[in-house]
Symmetry: C2
Subunit: 336 residues, 2 copies
């Protein structure tokens, strides 16, 4: 295969972010079929992990149908050119699991932390580099930090040895001008490659990905047929078409990736990806999805609108683990 120079590198996240959408029930057959087809369409990176990363399979986050490491091994054995990526959240996944993933054929790891907590990542990044993995610092919920804080944390990731640093819009809350200022500042202050990961809660995943590219991001995440958490991510096959129209070379075969979406992914999707009331609310409030169900319960108890709770939580910039704030916020709102 003749590889022309790619202008940017797309990481396909359907087999990781999409794990949420299928309730972590990916089968070995599905992972092998999808990986093979994506590889044949010349997708450079395919991420395969539980939605919450290595070790994510648990009662808390949802049990996987098939063990992550088994899926990673099968995907790595299947692809000819693509590199298999894994996600690792320090505290959820362990260094031991990362070692095993590398041994089984993973070539890239994305070490993911909350946008203000890069400092939990240095050991995992160091180990990843030791293992010879391409290493990405993945700053989640990037909308929750001001630009200078994001840059500070991105520089930490770089200082630990990350080859690439991503701004991750986990809640699908960012507007295009907010993406631009973030990527521009990262680009100005870092020497490593910059990436961007979008969610489509506000129907802006494509707009935000283009905004990031305009400011110099060279890594973009996509989920084919929008097979990602919530409203899904930037739809990969559409992104490839738009980049082609813009004269930007992703290296991915447009017809093949369209066919994978239609013939292999669409039949797997438990339901088509729409922007529903819930996903819109989360994007608008800028709150992580783990707060949704609890807020709906609290709203019933206090006879208020759950959206008011979520928006208030968004203003308080809550993070996972602070779910106990929901009742306080609900009670406060009910008093008003």
């Amino acid at each position: 295969m003749i590889m022309t120079k790619r202008d940017l590198l797309i990481t396909e996240v359907a087999l990781r972010d999409g794990s949420h959408a299928v309730n972590h029930q990916f089968t070995l057959d599905q992972v092998v079929n999808v990986s093979k087809a994506l590889d044949e369409a010349n997708v450079p990176y395919i991420e395969v992990t539980h939605g919450d990363g290595l070790g994510g399979s648990s009662l808390q986050f949802g049990l996987s149908h098939t063990n992550d490491l088994e899926l990673i091994e099968a995907a790595a054995a299947t692809v000819k050119n693509a590199k298999i990526s894994v996600l690792l959240l320090p505290g959820v996944g362990t260094k031991e699991e990362l070692k095993q993933a590398a041994k089984l054929g993973a070539k890239m790891v994305r070490v993911a932390t909350h946008v203000t907590e890069a400092d939990v990542a240095p050991q995992h990044i160091a180990l990843a580099k030791e293992l010879g993995l391409e290493t990405v610092g993945f700053l989640m919920m990037s909308h929750m930090a001001p630009v200078d804080k994001l840059v500070e944390q991105a520089k930490l990731m770089e200082s630990y040895g990350a080859d690439v640093v991503y701004a991750v819009d986990s809640a699908g809350a960012l507007l295009p001008h907010e993406v631009k200022e973030r990527i521009r500042a990262m680009k100005e202050n870092l020497s490593v490659e910059i990436g961007f990961h979008a969610h489509n809660n506000l129907s802006l995943a494509m707009a935000n990905s283009l905004a990031a590219i305009e400011e110099g991001a060279t890594r973009i995440d996509g989920s084919i047929r929008c097979l990602g958490a919530g409203a899904g991510n930037t739809q990969t096959e559409v992104l490839v078409a738009v980049l082609d129209r813009l004269g930007i070379n992703s290296g991915i075969d447009l017809y093949k990736i369209m066919d994978v979406a239609e013939n292999i992914i669409a039949p797997i999707l438990p339901k088509p990806q729409e922007i529903t009331k819930d996903s819109l609310t989360l994007g608008y409030a800028g709150v992580y999805s783990s707060f949704l169900l609890h807020s709906q319960r609290a709203a019933e108890r206090f006879n208020i609108d759950s959206r008011d709770i979520l928006i208030e939580l968004g203003k308080h910039k809550v993070v996972g683990g602070q779910e106990d704030m929901i009742l306080d916020v609900a009670a406060e709102l009910a008093k008003k």
Copy 2:
């Protein structure tokens, strides 16, 4: 109801553009329920017509379940603040039908022509003005004309008396920078209000609508829950949320419009709106959907990929009525 000044006016097109998505089978009950709910959410304009405009119900375009004029009358009788809009394509709809629509309570008409054929519109626009209707010149397939041609045609619409002129991205083919240059040029050269109508084939409906607003468009079309032709339009309830985040006042109640989408529209949709292979292909090729099925048949006959035919047709800038070119293009491609 206290009405604050709106920064822009949204026209909800689900009951017109969405007619295609439900195969023109809207019932009287559905139109009444949806109009009532949209009105209560403070949507300023609600378009109610067959997908191809007044008189569109036909063997050629698809027969309506219920006569257009009956639906328009019922919607007009239902709403308290909203204005009912109708679509009229000169040559499809007649002046007589427009008179009847006005008599039954329509307050706005959008006189729609191909982007290079504004000159078929003057009589219908003149009549609309006589009838006291707010009158919009609606330039379809705007991606097919260079910017100066679009401006020339928009100025014609203005000279005929249109109160507003729209650039309409019927095929969902425009990229944000292309929208910007079009709206900017229209804004510079016209005195009337400028509008923009998007389709989501390239996942850019929201991006393009924001691009149009940035350049001064003050009328934007939305389809609630994306209930429009093909991949749907700019999703209305999401647009309202995004505008709110941007500090732009649409006057529409966000929670109410979200609830209409979830509780009233979602159950009507025959299938959720996704970007499929077909809709992506049409947006990428910039070809109207009437060419899709014929191209797929020709592709089978000549054993080639239907996408190659559609892309070639896009290069030839074909318009509805030129479907006979499909076989020529297919034969030519098969030879190569």
